[in-house]
Symmetry: C2
């Protein structure tokens, strides 16, 4: 934890250490303050409650997934199908790292994100809107079929790739790289069909 980071960031870093050590139930503001060698009053000036800290941890955790995806979605010099393919592989890799490299920590974070329904729903809405933007762009450029509805196609894209990035599927179903490459190829060809 560097002192150069703004205090709220350092509080969240410390909160993550405590979450990792004790889980979301037992982690508390007093222990976070002790770890940071400051009074808990200092923490409450930035976060009014433990719930506010958990919420901010979940937001930051999910943004670490969605920010690189947003960057890809915005690369309008690339074709829509290149961006969709990069988006897919980046999301898959990020989720695999989170789920498989540190399953214990993942369970804590996933549990928090699931309790913070509003946060989780907003994250999914962000991903849907990135997909919709890229697909709409592909339709406008004549790269994808004009018969597509971008919003419906975005939702279908998310579902058709779910096996490759949903945490439960990564743990239970373990799709291979070859399956991922073949599937995204078929889906992208499907978006192009009937141009």
């Amino acid at each position: 934890m560097s002192d150069e980071l703004p205090l709220p960031e350092r509080i969240l870093d410390a909160a993550e250490v405590m979450l990792r050590r004790h889980g979301a139930e037992k982690a508390n503001v007093v222990d976070i303050a002790r770890l940071m060698e400051m009074s808990h009053g200092n923490i409450y000036r930035h976060f009014p409650s433990k719930k506010a800290i958990l919420d901010a941890v979940a937001v930051r955790w999910l943004q670490a997934v969605s920010s690189p995806l947003q960057k890809i979605a915005n690369e309008s010099e690339r074709s829509a199908s290149e961006r969709l393919e990069a988006w897919f592989h980046t999301l898959r890799a990020a989720k695999r790292r989170k789920v498989l490299d540190d399953p214990e920590l993942f369970r804590v974070y996933h549990g928090i994100a699931m309790q913070m329904r509003a946060v989780a729903d907003e994250h999914v809405a962000t991903l849907h809107s990135q997909l919709e933007g890229m697909i709409a762009d592909g339709i406008a450029r004549g790269e994808f079929s004009r018969e597509l509805d971008a919003k419906a196609a975005a939702r279908a894209f998310m579902q058709a790739t779910m096996a490759f990035h949903h945490p439960l599927m990564l743990m239970q179903n373990c799709p291979t790289d070859e399956e991922a490459h073949t599937a995204i190829g078929i889906i992208l060809n499907g978006l192009k069909a009937g141009r």
Copy 2:
């Protein structure tokens, strides 16, 4: 339970009643025999152990899913994409019925099928081979792209439709009918692309 059914079938029916009532752990051969008003020696003549009964229950339960799908796969007078679409909707409907109509019983059966790894693996292999057959047929008829590898495409098809029929996804992710229709349309167009 009709007396017209062969005894092994009636034993499995009775086993299902006991599984529903007591779960896989507590269900036992003596109780099954009592329910059927016969000696348990009579049951052991057909099934050497409780494990053999559970195995047979799992096989029958999974065949209730795969048999109608096999029928669809065999309908060679229909186009490959019609059959794949019917296969997809039939699998989805069967899994939804099983998972959502009676979640308790589903959990018991699913637990048994997961313990009987060989049975479960064979079931998945059956589904893969149905898909591979339909896709190979579609390639041979010039309906699907000749660049496809039927085996790889079958595995990719299974993964790309997983969100619509995997029990965990049906419980947690609840894809809509519209998403299912849009996704299967994109996937089928993807198989056709580049003919």
